[in-house]
């Protein structure tokens, strides 16, 4: 029995997988394979089916087209969704206007029951639903229904089974009517979803406080709400051959570079995998260089950041299933910008950027520099600091490198543990763990207190990096820098820094060199390292090569000129 069902299941899966692509080619193959495995299977299956149902409507052909015979369609749906054991799918049979046979198919829990109960089924079953002008049963009444009966805002007509079943899977309800070779799809999506809430990983003080959710449509809406522009294009591309996920490519036509858009779309379309769970998987499939540490695509949880990226000429990719959006192309320096930067006034924004820069430098180099100094260049630090280091290390039994690796690994453990443990105790574990561990280790004489300070400062520094992925990259790099420093001191650090930098210089994010606008040099915008006053940011970042560079006119100049009576040279575009 089981074997037989498996066989059939495999057939259907096979059918479905290819049906979306090329139905004609497939039919022949399916016939072949079914004939090959017929003898036992069909017999048994038929037996089983006869128990379930009295009337047998054998689907005549394997064509993808919707048959005008209702029972064929019904049978087909049942087969497709393996209804003899699959519980979720619901088929509600009824008569339209007490006359025409019809049924609605949907998946339990994914549809909005209210819409079905109040707006669709009652109207269809009412007397008015019958087409007065059309008496014969053979005639399809679908036009009539759509125009006169169904008071639903969004419905589409489909004539292919594969598409119809996709819609059912999406959460739509599909109406099949006797005598019609088309079905009506009601957009009755109504499954449970998380509401929009604060972003967890990227919080800001000044700026919008909503984050993306797991729902693709909600996410697109969140962006559309910020960029109200008719040129905001949202292209849906199906990804994941088996889980039929969707991903949206969003950009502003005329501002995003068409070459980049095409490249991104091309790469997404080329993804050939059975399942896409979210943006992280898409990122891995489409990134330029998968062996380098540096992320080449920005991942953000914030709609405002995604929107501002769109306005700068970048392309946003949103996948179903994760509350993150991908932004591409990016450069190294963009990964250190936050959405708060543009909300704050110029001196504050600049200050925060510089602090972040210091944090990044500390997070990457501080432990390595300590190791280098302690092992090779003790002449390079002021004597009093050296005295402190020596005295602190006097009781420590480990070599410096072991000591620092020990602490670094413990710190990483605390950090990882802090994420995994339940939120309520997570923070406590983090703080208590760090404090108690550090204190105990110092008083036990296993590590020197200076090192605890260094590792903590390093940890703090790594927390200021806005991009999570970049943070991980720098944490890994840090370990390598520590090792290189232990090998050859500052010289080792420099050699490794050279190799890392030259690798980073060679990578590109969708055609944009990673270290632009510095290397290769293009025009460095006023919002690069120092955040210049907002009215100075007249052009979009040069490195994205946008067709429309100009972002704003002469803002303050206009009214200052007016005040001084120079006469407004208002050449705003």
């Amino acid at each position: 029995m089981k074997k037989a069902f498996d066989e059939i299941y495999r057939l259907y899966v096979n059918d479905e997988a290819v049906a979306t692509k090329n139905s004609q080619k497939n039919n022949t193959r399916r016939e072949k394979s079914s004939s090959r495995s017929t003898p036992l299977t069909i017999e048994e299956w038929n037996k089983k089916r006869k128990v379930q149902e009295e009337t047998v409507c054998q689907p005549q052909s394997n064509s993808d087209a919707i048959s005008s015979e209702l029972c064929v369609n019904l049978e087909k749906i049942k087969q497709r969704f393996l209804m003899h054991k699959n519980q979720g799918i619901i088929i509600r049979e009824f008569n339209i206007g007490k006359k025409t046979n019809a049924f609605i198919a949907y998946i339990k829990g994914m549809v909005d029951k209210q819409t079905l109960n109040l707006a669709i089924i009652p109207q269809l079953m009412s007397k008015e639903a019958a087409d007065e002008n059309n008496g014969s049963d053979d005639q399809c009444t679908i036009d009539y229904l759509v125009k006169n009966v169904l008071a639903v805002h969004n419905l589409t007509r489909l004539s292919k089974f594969s598409e119809a079943s996709m819609q059912i899977l999406r959460g739509a309800s599909v109406l099949f009517i006797e005598g019609c070779d088309e079905c009506i799809v009601f957009d009755t999506l109504g499954y449970e979803k998380r509401s929009v809430s604060k972003p967890v990983t990227e919080s800001v003080v000044r700026g919008p406080q909503e984050g993306f959710t797991e729902n693709l449509l909600t996410n697109i809406t969140l962006i559309r709400r910020i960029v109200k522009n008719e040129k905001l294009v949202n292209e849906m591309i199906p990804v994941g051959n088996t889980n039929h996920s969707n991903c949206a490519v969003i950009y502003l036509e005329g501002i995003a570079n068409p070459k980049v858009i095409n490249e991104i779309k091309k790469r997404i379309k080329k993804i050939n995998t059975d399942v896409i769970m979210g943006d992280g998987m898409i990122e891995q499939f489409i990134e330029d260089n998968s062996l380098t540490l540096f992320p080449q695509i920005l991942s953000t949880e914030r709609p405002d950041k995604a929107a501002s990226s769109i306005m700068e000429g970048q392309v946003v990719i949103i996948a179903e299933g994760t509350p993150f959006a991908l932004v591409a192309p990016v450069t190294f320096f963009h990964l250190f910008h936050t959405s708060e930067d543009s909300q704050l006034r110029c001196p504050f924004g600049t200050f925060l950027r510089l602090i972040r820069l210091v944090g990044v430098a500390l997070a990457t180099f501080l432990p390595a520099i300590y190791v280098a100094v302690a092992l090779f260049h003790s002449e390079a630090i002021p004597t009093q600091i050296l005295e402190a280091i020596i005295e602190a290390r006097e009781r420590v039994p480990f070599p410096t490198i072991v000591e620092i690796l020990l602490l670094e690994i413990s710190f990483e453990l605390i950090r990882e543990a802090g994420i995994r443990v339940p939120t309520i105790i997570g923070q406590t574990i983090g703080i208590v763990g760090a404090l108690i561990l550090g204190q105990a280790a110092v008083s036990a004489g296993i590590v020197s207190p200076i090192l605890v300070i260094i590792v903590s400062v390093t940890g703090l520094g790594s927390f200021v990096i806005p991009s999570y992925t970049m943070g991980i990259a720098l944490r890994i790099l840090r370990l390598f820098f520590i090792l290189s420093a232990a090998m050859m001191g500052f010289f080792g650090i420099t050699v490794l820094a050279f190799i890392v930098t030259i690798f980073a210089c060679s990578i590109k994010s969708f055609g944009v060199p990673y270290f632009s606008p510095i290397a290769p040099s293009t025009k460095i915008g006023p919002d690069f390292l120092i955040r210049a006053p907002i009215w100075m940011q007249k052009n979009r970042p040069d490195e994205f090569n946008t067709p429309n560079r100009k972002r704003q006119g002469n803002n303050q100049k206009v009214w200052i000129d007016e005040e001084q009576g120079i006469g407004g040279d208002d050449s705003n575009t």
Binding site: A374, S378, E379, T383, Q384, L386, E387, I389, E394
Partner: protein, 421 residues
């Protein structure tokens, strides 16, 4: 699986090849010599002394001879060796850590060694690379070993900081000439000037009670040589005055006051409290807070081979302590005081310059001006300035302005019951 094994093996190979011992030394494997002493040895050519931290920490038990290990956390080791750096090796027979000179603050050379010439020794150390150019060279009267043994912390906890700070007292008092060892060795090779180094000696604290030393007239602040200050308490090591070198050989000494004059003439003087005798009420000391107003103006002309040097020193200062009750704040009397001060400095400068001429040493860096008269190096080297300095005619002029009079602008005399009778 095979790939995994290969990867692990190659990883292990890489690690064994790449990690660790490419010349790394833990900070705790070094013994940082904060003070290094050199003098002529008794049982071997050189006596080499280092002062290193004991690193016992706060509650560390002090063991052994009390003269060897001190409670302040620093100890000394002295050894007679064929050469200084081989001495560093010989010390390792008793010291588990390698001697390191990277953080040496003071390099002490005994006077007798300095008089024989120290250039070669210093060259060795500088070539060695560990010793930094900013280390101070101090010529010590008497034994360098004893000096280091008694070089203890009286104030503060950190010896290197104390040593560095005491050298910076040049800025505050001008009684020593703070000069890095690199610059010193450079000066020894120059034709423009000759080298100087701070002078130090242990003070046995006996001078304070020494009545023979008591002068009849006013003895000014710096009119002492190292080890002679009438002082008790504090650190026994005393830094005052300057050792004067010709080439790499020490030829003479300058007292504290003379050091100040030297600094003034060479433009390195920053500030000092200078006491002079009151021009009206003889015998009373008047103290000024003196600063350099601008760099001295040196003009040099050559009369045949004989150089003529016109030196103009510009000073300014505040009144800080007046013993007399004369109203020197007034417009009439202020110039009197200024003139007296100028006179005093001029005399002192003349004396100092004469002394240096006798020593045949241009420690005032007049040569740096003289060199501008010579277009090419050949001519300059042929002229050989430092050999002509002794014949130089030096005209000294001092300008001094009292800028502020401190918290008072007028001095009223004290009234006594006997007044007015």
């Amino acid at each position: 699986m095979r790939r995994l094994v290969i990867m692990i093996l190659s990883g292990a190979l890489m690690i064994s090849m790449l990690t660790g011992c490419f010349g790394d030394v833990e900070v705790n494997d070094w013994a940082y010599a904060y003070t290094v002493g050199l003098e002529k040895g008794v049982s071997n050519k050189t006596r080499f002394t280092i002062q290193i931290p004991t690193l016992k920490g706060e509650g560390g038990e002090v063991s052994g001879e009390s003269s060897q290990t001190d409670k302040d956390g620093y100890t000394y080791i002295s050894i007679d060796a064929p050469s200084s750096l081989s001495g560093a090796n010989m010390i390792n027979t008793a010291l588990s850590r390698k001697v390191n000179f990277m953080h040496t603050k003071i390099f002490v050379v005994s006077e007798d060694l300095a008089r024989e010439g120290i250039g070669e020794i210093l060259n060795t150390f500088l070539r060695f690379g560990q010793l930094r150019m900013i280390t101070q060279l101090v010529v010590v009267r008497g034994s360098a070993r004893d000096f280091i043994r008694n070089n203890k912390l009286v104030v503060g906890k950190s010896l290197p900081k104390t040593e560095e700070d005491i050298m910076n007292q040049e800025k505050n008092a001008g009684l020593i000439d703070n000069i890095g060892i690199g610059e010193l060795v450079g000066q020894m090779k120059l034709l423009t000037m000759q080298a100087t180094a701070p002078l130090a000696k242990l003070n046995d604290f006996s001078n304070q009670e020494d009545e023979e030393n008591a002068p009849g007239e006013l003895k000014t602040t710096g009119n002492y040589y190292a080890g002679e200050l009438p002082r008790t308490g504090g650190d026994k090591a005393e830094y005052i005055g300057t050792a004067v070198f010709d080439g790499d050989k020490m030829v003479g000494e300058l007292s504290g006051d003379e050091t100040r004059m030297m600094l003034m003439a060479s433009g390195e003087f920053e500030r000092a409290f200078i006491t002079i005798e009151d021009p009206i009420e003889k015998g009373l000391p008047e103290t000024f807070d003196v600063r350099r107003q601008k760099p001295p103006d040196v003009k040099i002309s050559l009369k045949g081979d004989r150089p003529v040097i016109d030196l103009k020193v510009f000073l300014e200062g505040d009144l800080i302590a007046l013993r007399s009750s004369i109203n020197y704040e007034s417009k009439e009397l202020k110039p009197v005081l200024e003139k007296a001060f100028e006179k005093y400095i001029e005399t002192e400068l003349d004396k100092t310059i004469d002394k240096c001429k006798r020593l045949n040493c241009d420690v005032f860096a007049f040569g740096t001006e003289a060199v501008k008269k010579f277009p090419t190096i050949q001519e300059w080297e042929e002229y050989n300035w430092i050999s002509h300095f002794k014949d130089a005619e030096v005209n000294v002029e001092v300008r001094f302005i009292i800028r502020r009079t401190g918290t008072v602008i007028k001095t009223n005399p004290f009234k006594y019951a006997g007044d007015g009778e």
